[in-house]
Symmetry: C2
Subunit: 419 residues, 2 copies
C-alpha cells in the first residue's frame, strides 16, 4: 500500500487526450485566424459551458452552478468531513483571444478528473473543478467577475446589474443562457486552490523553462492622467508661448519607463492608452488623456512609486507649462500565494524532472481573489513569443501535458495529505 | 493738386462701417458659440458669396468669377493700360471657425472700395478685390485651393475632381451654388497683391503691437511617422523584452520639441496628431502613428532639420528596440514677400503712427501662392490670446480698423505709384 501523503509520480495523465480536449473546446467560437471569440455569457459561452458540463457529467462529476454562473464539478473523496481541493480557471475569452488563455486550466482540470478515474484513485478529500465566470471583463468591463463575487471583492447585486454595450445586464445574460445557478455565489470552506495558466509573458520561453512555480501576484497601482495645455496654431505659436499637452505627456511617458527600468527586471510601468485632443496635424495639442500603471512583486516598491510618480510627473508638467490632473484609480496589494501549496507545485515539478523557475504573476488571475479565502498556488506554462490576448497565442502539446501533469500531482498530493 | 505717388494719410476708412459689415457677414453661418461655420461651396458659402457680390455691385464694382469660383470685384482706374492692384482674402471658414479668419481681409477690402468711392478717388491703376475659394481645405481636404489653382500650383481638373466625405465633387458643388464661373482660373498679370489677415498667433498681442508687417512665409517640412514595436501584456512583459512603440514615440516627440527650442523663437516643431494601437490600458502599445511638422523662416534651417531629424529619430527608435517608418509628406520653400510691397505696408504703418513689428507668417495663406506670380505683401492684426480656427476667435473693432486703414493706404500708394 502506498502512503497517500507521497505523490506517486509514476501516475500520468493522458497528454494526447488533454490536447484533443483543448482543440475540441477551441472549435467553440473559433475565429478564422486560429483564435477564439467566446465572450462571457453569450450563446458561444453557453455552448462551451454545455460542452464542459456534459464532459464533467460523463466523467461522473456532479456539477453545480452558483448565482454568478461559476461552475463547480465535484468528485467525492473518501472522507466526507474534509474540505474540497479546488482547481480550474475560465472558459471565456477576449474578443480576439487565443485557444489557451483560461481553457488550458479548465481542460487540464478535466484531464485530472479523468486520470483519477482511469487510475481508480479515490482521494481523501473531495476535489472540485471550477469554471469561473467572466475572467476577461471584455463584455461587462469588469475582469475577474465570477471569482471576485465569490471572494466577496464585489457585491453580487452590483455585478449582476453591470451591462454590456447593448444594455444587457449580467443577470439577464445569465438567465438568457440558463446559467443563473442556485448555489450561493460566495466563498465556501475549501482546502486549497490550484490554477494552471499560460504565462502570457516571455520569461519561461526565453529561459527555456517548462514550468513556472508562481509564488504570488504583483502589487499594482493604476492612474488616469489628463494633461491640459492650450490648443493653438502649430505654425504661428512660438516656443515661448506654447502649452503643448502632448510634449508634457511624452515626458511623463518617458518618466514611467525610466521608473520601471530603475527597478530592474521585476519592474513594470506602462502607458497603454492615450488620446490626443483635438488631434489635428496643424494644431498644438491642448489636451492629452492617458493611462498609467505600475506593478512590482514587492509592495514597498509600489509604495515608493506611488509617492514618487505623482511628484515627478507634476514637476514635468510645471516645466512644460501644462496642468496635470492625476487620479489614482486603485491600488492592488501584492498577493503572495500559500507557501504549502507553492511547495507542492515545486515538489511535483522537481519529482517530474521538469525545468522550472519561480515567477510572480504579472497578470490578474482568478487565483488572486480566491487566495484571499483559500490557500492557493498557480502553475505557469510557456506560450510562444509570450503572446496572449491575441489570436496567435500558441503553446506546444508537450507544454500543456507538463502543466497538466504538475497540476495532477499537486492536487493529488494535497487531496491525500495527512491532516 | 496732390502728388499721386504720396499716400495721403489723412484719408480715412470708416471703421464703424467695416465692423458692421464684419458682424453682418458673421451672421451667415453663425454658430451658437459665437463662431462661424461657412464651409466652402455649401449653401451657407453661397449666401456669403451672394451677399458679397451684392455689396460689391452696390459699390459700383464689376464682379467676375473664374472656373474655380474665385471672385474678383473690379474698380477701374484712370489708366486702362495699367495692371490691377489686387487685395482680398477668403470668406470660407473652418467647421468651427471664427468670425475674422479670412472675412477680415475681404470685408476690409470692401471698405477700401467704399472709402475710395466716398473720397471720390480715381486710382491710376485699376483695383480688384478678391474672394479666394476654399482657403481652409476643411471640406475637400485641400487648403488654399482657389489661390493654388489660380497660381498653377494645382491643376484645375484635379481640384474640380476632389470630393467631400459625401462624394460631392468641387465641380458639382460649384455648379450647385452657381459659382462655376466663365473666367479662366489662372494667374493674370497684376501689379501687386495685398492681404490683411488676423495673425492667428499670440505675438502681436503679447508685444502690444497693432500691426504685423509680414515679410514672408516660413519654410516647412512635414512627415508621417509610424513606430512599430510589439503588443504585449503590460503585467507580464519585463523591461528587457519590451518593444514599447509609445515610449519610442514619446522620445521622438521630445526630440521635435528640443529641435524647435534649439532654434529660438523662430522655431516651430509640432506633433499634432497621434494614434496608439491597440490603445488598451493593459497592453504595451505595438504601434503608434503620428504627424511631425517643422517650420522656420530660414530655409537653410529647414534643410538642417530635414537632415538631422530623421537621423536622430532613427537613433531613438533603435535605442528603444522599435522600428521607425518616416515618410516626408512635403517640403514648402520659404516664400519671401516683395520688398517694395512690404515697404509700402511699413510706410503706411509708420505714417499712420501704429505700433508695429515685422513678422513671418507661420500659417499658410492665399498670399503665399499668389506671391509666386505677383509682388505680394501681407498685413497682420492681433487676435485675442492668439486663438484662431476656434469659435472663440476675437478681435477688437479698433484692430480691424487699423488693419483696414493700412490696407487702404498701401493699396492706394501702389495703385497711384508713378510707373
Amino acid at each position: 500500500m502506498t502512503d497517500p501523503a507521497v505523490p506517486r509520480h509514476n501516475l500520468r495523465i493522458d497528454g494526447k487526450r488533454l490536447w484533443d480536449s483543448l482543440m475540441s473546446m477551441a472549435e467553440i467560437g473559433a475565429t478564422p485566424k486560429g483564435g477564439v471569440r467566446r465572450l462571457t455569457l453569450t450563446e458561444v459561452d453557453k455552448r462551451g459551458r454545455d460542452r464542459f458540463r456534459a464532459l464533467c457529467e460523463a466523467a461522473g462529476l456532479t456539477v453545480r452552478v452558483d448565482a454568478i454562473g461559476n461552475m463547480f464539478a465535484r468528485r467525492e473523496g473518501r472522507d466526507p468531513a474534509r474540505q474540497p481541493v479546488l482547481f480550474g480557471s475560465h472558459l471565456d475569452s477576449q474578443p480576439s483571444g487565443g485557444k489557451f488563455d483560461g481553457a488550458l486550466g479548465v481542460m487540464a482540470g478535466l484531464e485530472v478528473m479523468r486520470s483519477l478515474n482511469d487510475l481508480g484513485i479515490v482521494t481523501e478529500a473531495p476535489v472540485e473543478l471550477v469554471n469561473w465566470t467572466d475572467e476577461e471583463g471584455s463584455r461587462f468591463g469588469h475582469s475577474l467577475m465570477g471569482s471576485g463575487v465569490w471572494a466577496g471583492v464585489y457585491e453580487l447585486d452590483h455585478a449582476r446589474a453591470l451591462t454590456d454595450p447593448e444594455g444587457i445586464s449580467v443577470g439577464a445574460a445569465l438567465d438568457g443562457i440558463g446559467y443563473n445557478g442556485d448555489a450561493p455565489a460566495a466563498a465556501f470552506p475549501a482546502d486549497a486552490y490550484f490554477e494552471l495558466h499560460i504565462e502570457q509573458g516571455p520569461i519561461l520561453e526565453r529561459e527555456g523553462k517548462t514550468i513556472g512555480i508562481v509564488t504570488g501576484a504583483q502589487a499594482q497601482v493604476w492612474y488616469d492622467a489628463v494633461v491640459i495645455g492650450q490648443d493653438s496654431h502649430a505654425g504661428t505659436t512660438p516656443p515661448s508661448t506654447r502649452k503643448d499637452a502632448l510634449v508634457g505627456a511624452a515626458r511623463i511617458i518617458d518618466l514611467v519607463d525610466r521608473m520601471m527600468r530603475a527597478r530592474g527586471e521585476d519592474g513594470r510601468g506602462t502607458v497603454g492608452q492615450l488620446v490626443v485632443l483635438p488631434n489635428s496635424r496643424n494644431v498644438i495639442p491642448g489636451e492629452v488623456r492617458f493611462s498609467v500603471e505600475f506593478r512590482h512583486p514587492d509592495e514597498t516598491e509600489i509604495d515608493r512609486i506611488d509617492a514618487q510618480f505623482p511628484r515627478e510627473a507634476g514637476f514635468i508638467a510645471r516645466d512644460c507649462g501644462v496642468k496635470l490632473e492625476l487620479t489614482r484609480l486603485f491600488r492592488i496589494p501584492a498577493q503572495p500565494f500559500d507557501p504549502d501549496c507553492v511547495a507542492l507545485v515545486r515538489q511535483a515539478t522537481e519529482q517530474l524532472g521538469y525545468t522550472a523557475r519561480e515567477i510572480v504573476s504579472g497578470a490578474g488571475h482568478d487565483a488572486v481573489y480566491v487566495a484571499r479565502h483559500v490557500p492557493t498556488a498557480m502553475i505557469f506554462t510557456p506560450c510562444k513569443d509570450g503572446l496572449s490576448h491575441n489570436e496567435a497565442e500558441e503553446i506546444k502539446p508537450e507544454e500543456a501535458e507538463a502543466g497538466g501533469q504538475v497540476l495532477f500531482s499537486a492536487v493529488l498530493a494535497r487531496a491525500n495529505r495527512v491532516v
